[in-house]
Symmetry: C2
Subunit: 385 residues, 2 copies
Amino acid sequence: MKKIVILGSTGSVGRNTLDVISKFPDKFRVVGLTAGWNSDELERQIKKFGPKIVSLASEEKAEKLKKRLRNRDITVCSGVEGLIRVATFPDGDLVVSAIVGAAGLIPTLSAIKAKKNVALANKETIVMAGKIVMEEAAKNGVEIIPIDSEHMALLQSMAGHRREDVRRLIVTASGGPLLDASLSRRRAIKPNEALRHPTWQMGAKISIDSATLMNKGFEVIEASRLFDMPAGSIEVLIHRQSIVHSMVAYKDGSIIAQLGVPDMRGPISYALNYPERLEIGLPQLDLAEIGKLTFRQPDLKRFPCLAYAYEAMNIGGTMPAMLNAANEEAVRAYLDGNIGFLDIPKIIRKVMDSASAKKVEKLEDVIVADGWARETASGYINSLS
Amino acid sequence: MKKIVILGSTGSVGRNTLDVISKFPDKFRVVGLTAGWNSDELERQIKKFGPKIVSLASEEKAEKLKKRLRNRDITVCSGVEGLIRVATFPDGDLVVSAIVGAAGLIPTLSAIKAKKNVALANKETIVMAGKIVMEEAAKNGVEIIPIDSEHMALLQSMAGHRREDVRRLIVTASGGPLLDASLSRRRAIKPNEALRHPTWQMGAKISIDSATLMNKGFEVIEASRLFDMPAGSIEVLIHRQSIVHSMVAYKDGSIIAQLGVPDMRGPISYALNYPERLEIGLPQLDLAEIGKLTFRQPDLKRFPCLAYAYEAMNIGGTMPAMLNAANEEAVRAYLDGNIGFLDIPKIIRKVMDSASAKKVEKLEDVIVADGWARETASGYINSLS
């Protein structure tokens, strides 16, 4: 029986994780859950899965929830301290890190330091502080299993093959809802339209990151860190159908690819039970029915965010953290209706142009850079909106 | 330094194997070669690679060759005895079994009994006597590494994954030169046209087997034996481009695939140096340039040979050996201009209809069945031509 903690249990990955867990009551037990503000959904999850500890971002909501659950044997906490308590809860075997954005960094690092294996959906953690996270994981003998379909595909495509034979990682990208949209359409696109992803059901922040291809840029940075590969050996390939989840090219010209229907429960179940697979009842892929798989190169001019991610990765140090912070602020401003879609890359460009990257030696280096980039981005956002 | 023996060194696989070996003089040394009748090509190979022992099918040609090489420290032998001497030559570490057809069975089995690892291009060996070959390999602690691109792809797509999680093997098929040819065109097709394979450069026998899809049927039987999977779990998928070389589907809905440019030197180099890959300078696959990969289901009515292979596999015992023998006779008659292309499946059907399969307990059971099927097929061929 594996004891599971989910950080961000009311989000898209969190809910899908609980869906997979509910099918295997003899394999997994939920011991900890955390949520941001959605205390109603968290309460439903508590009643269904009976965790021993939960946390909400809001102290006020946590107090109310505590009262409602006073007859239960459960600890209810709040804020960053609460998050860390759940992430490091002694009973937990595997921590599913599914909080969106930079907020996932501290609790994920805390879990790693507490020697918990981590199933990582929060790619910002690796983008911001990949060096520190990977070093801590190595030091603590902790496995980091990616939940992203792309990284799970890379992991599966490297299993059983010699790492020294790997030449390139080929990360596939659906291209999001605006891949072929005209400039005028992209300029005018409203958040509710930009959120309509062609193949994946996901949360708002990651859906916008998919529309700008920044999500793919983050995935390239994440792949570089997780698999210790130089930026120049990681390619992005547009594949609208999201069936080939990613590929690994070897020195003999051979490519190994992982394919499947686009459903988050695939990578989630793989991460939960790694390295054994679970029969989760996803539909079998029928390639004869699908007929064809299409591929093309990404257009870095139309989607500059992807180019910026490569640039930040090549500069290194605190630059990826600043890229992430600027992006997070810009996406929030876009979702709030304060800036246009095409302003997102402009703001990131401005922040990167005025940024000076420093070496990452400790977590504070990342946090300071993150703070500076957010402040700088906010200034540009205010001047636009 | 791995010492290599090649059975069938002047054929397509044999020549490609020597081409790969010539690029890695510090990794491989050729110690034994055999050929059928092409003593000139064998002599050139001897001068280039300096084997210690060679054999020709023809005793007369062997005697002449021996005279021409009298100043060399080399053993020249002939016939089946010669083949077996080379296959079991004490110095050999790996025997590349690349003789076409049933003639490959005895020397391949001899190599296995002499505890030589085998790189197997001769699929007829497994089709005829898969049970005996696999049992002998297990008994002698011998590895059988397939050289077929499809089985090499299956091997690579299973490496590092739990065998008990495998649900289906998906063997891809280019469909050969006649996939979309009309009935009248297939009825009238001449051998020189049927030999023009769209993606692979291969020998005559296997090219005709590709045009009838019998080659794919043999591969399904071979996959079933090599990977110990029931016939019902092996699918054939038409993929004209021969880029996805085969796939393995797992119980969580995940599919692992192996891709590469269609060049025999890929699987050959993998088999020679297994499990380490070699940098053989094949062009990198550029999927953006290729644009799309297409798939469709095979039409068993148009290509009955594939259906017959499934049928023979399901019946089991000596039936696959009889299928192979009938096919070999029919293909030879077609190549000799004695029967038409559409007569090939008809002859096989007639032989299978009058055959009664027996259990395979010893090699003689296979040889008797093979002889009976050839004789029966010849009778039908004579009645047609």
